[in-house]
Amino acid sequence: MASLTQRVRLGAPARTRVRALPRGLWALPPVAALALVFLYPLFLLVRQSFTPDEGGPMTAAYSEVLAEASFQDALVNTVLIAAGATLGCLVLGFALALVVAFVPFPGARALGRFIDIFLAFPSFLITLALLFVYGTTGVANGLWTSATGAGSGPFDFLHTPWGVLLAEITYFTPFVMRPLLAAFSQVETGQLEAAASLGARPRRIVRTVILPEALPSLAAGGALVLVMCLNEFGIVLFTGAKDVVTLPVLVYTKAILDGDYTGACVVAVVNIALSVALYAGYRALVARTGRREGGARRARAQQ
């Protein structure tokens, strides 16, 4: 009893001290720093896109850039490559994660760690590696020429959108696999065994038991990969193809190579709008998944 009163007595002044300092004040320094180096520059970027170099109406730069064939090509390229890469990552990531989680083999755990390391490396290394595998003097073409005696090999797709697509699928698949593996670890093995003992084939178990459980993580992973593909720069730059221009590459070309800042800002605003909208969707998906998983965990803990 004595200890209880002591605790109450000691706790009371501490609480008033906390209340004496406005709580919002602590949040001010980091937010101010972020505003200075991120929000304010972003605001200036948008303002610059509305101040054409040659004067005229505010949206002059927009109507000029949006009408350019190079911009339209870049927009179509970006969206098509991002959509294709996301689809590829989802299919490949789902298949690979399924094997790692449900048909485990010795070393499957080490593989999970390998995936984490993979995520720490920059994306352009993949394009560099593909140059040695499928490039004009790479493994694949070397094998072909030494086997058939031909002058050059058949693999010449690295400088086309297909090369970018392959590199992006390779690099971003682990981003789909990681949340999927986390979701798969929540699936009760009892459910799978019950389904199997009732005569369900593996294909049916995947479709009716595992897929519904994994769908939120699959959607969240896919949305994240879609955003990252839209913003990918290193892979496309290292491909070095003149006819594969995406929005980020167009921003770079306009600003650094042509010195046209206003045009670059216009393209950047379009790119930002596209990816922020998608990212908001991704966050909403993750928030829904998080709530569901949290609820499931709590329910299990109560059992």
């Binding site: 706790g11 980091p30 937010v31 094997v99 449900f102 048909v103 083999f105 920059p122 352009f124 070397g142």
Partner: protein
């Protein structure tokens, strides 16, 4: 547990390896192999040599490696400080305030890195802050890009932290500053070091924003790799890439050692 017959399992594993090895293991193997080679026109590289590594030790590439390490160190420490502070402040605010801060600090992930670089270029090429062409602008860009990851990881750890520890410390009369320094931060240490490692790795490999803003006297390693491969010296580029990966892995490994020691507390 899903497939019970041995034969079917073997088929699935073979398919898995046929997909996994060429797609994910091969890239690192070929870069490593190429860094020791002079030509590659068959199944395997030929002309074993160490000259690419010797070139790194004496040329501009060493400068680039040091530049990258310093930039990544500065950016990850700044990001850790800002991200942790914001996460702690957000948790204290709670409710809508937390949501606003979390969204603000996650925003740099959604904005393309190239656009972040361009915005810094636009903002800091004019008074009052003239930073264009300095090293600081590179460090600022990297910090902006990686702070989101530090914030996210620290704030996830804060959510998992059992409030009983700080409550009992406060109930025993510890001042808020003491609780933060002696109770909360030590408990958060594993995730703080993990966040630092992640930020360091991301900053080491950052290319998009850096390409927009790097000054000639502060050229990080990814830019050097691009310049090298762009002029056709693929094998030197591979050696540089190996140096980049090795430095990143070394730091990640060191950071994970801190984590294991801290988790014994």
């Amino acid at each position: 547990m899903l497939v019970h017959s041995n034969k079917a399992r073997a088929v699935i594993w073979t398919g898995f390896l046929l997909l996994f090895v060429p797609l994910f293991a091969l890239p690192f193997a070929v870069i490593l192999a190429a860094s020791f080679a002079t030509t590659w026109s068959g199944a395997l590289p030929s002309g074993p040599t160490l000259t690419h590594y010797q070139d790194i030790a004496k040329g501009d590439s060493l400068n680039a490696l040091v530049t990258s390490l310093l930039t990544a160190l500065a950016a990850s420490l700044l990001a850790l400080a800002a991200g942790t502070w914001a996460a702690l402040a957000a948790q204290r605010l709670g409710g809508r305030g937390k949501k606003v801060i979390d969204t603000l600090f996650m925003l740099p992930v959604a904005v393309p890195s190239v656009a972040v670089g361009l915005s810094l270029l636009v903002a800091f090429s004019q008074p009052p802050l003239l930073l264009n062409g300095t090293r600081q602008i590179v460090i600022i860009a990297h910090t902006v890009l990686v702070t989101a990851f530090a914030h996210q990881s620290v704030s996830a750890a804060l959510d998992r932290l059992d409030p009983a520890y700080e409550q009992s410390a406060a109930a025993l009369g510890a001042r808020p500053a003491y609780v933060l320094w002696r109770v909360k931060l030590p408990l958060l240490l594993p995730s703080l070091t993990a966040a630092t490692g992640l930020c360091f790795a991301l900053s080491m490999g950052e290319l998009s924003a850096t390409m927009m803003i790097y000054p000639p006297d502060w050229l990080p390693l990814p830019v050097q790799i691009f310049a090298t491969t762009d002029r056709g010296a693929l094998f030197s580029g591979a050696a540089l890439a190996v140096a980049l990966m090795a430095a990143t892995l070394l730091v990640l490994f060191g950071v994970s050692r801190i984590r294991t020691r801290a988790s014994y507390r």
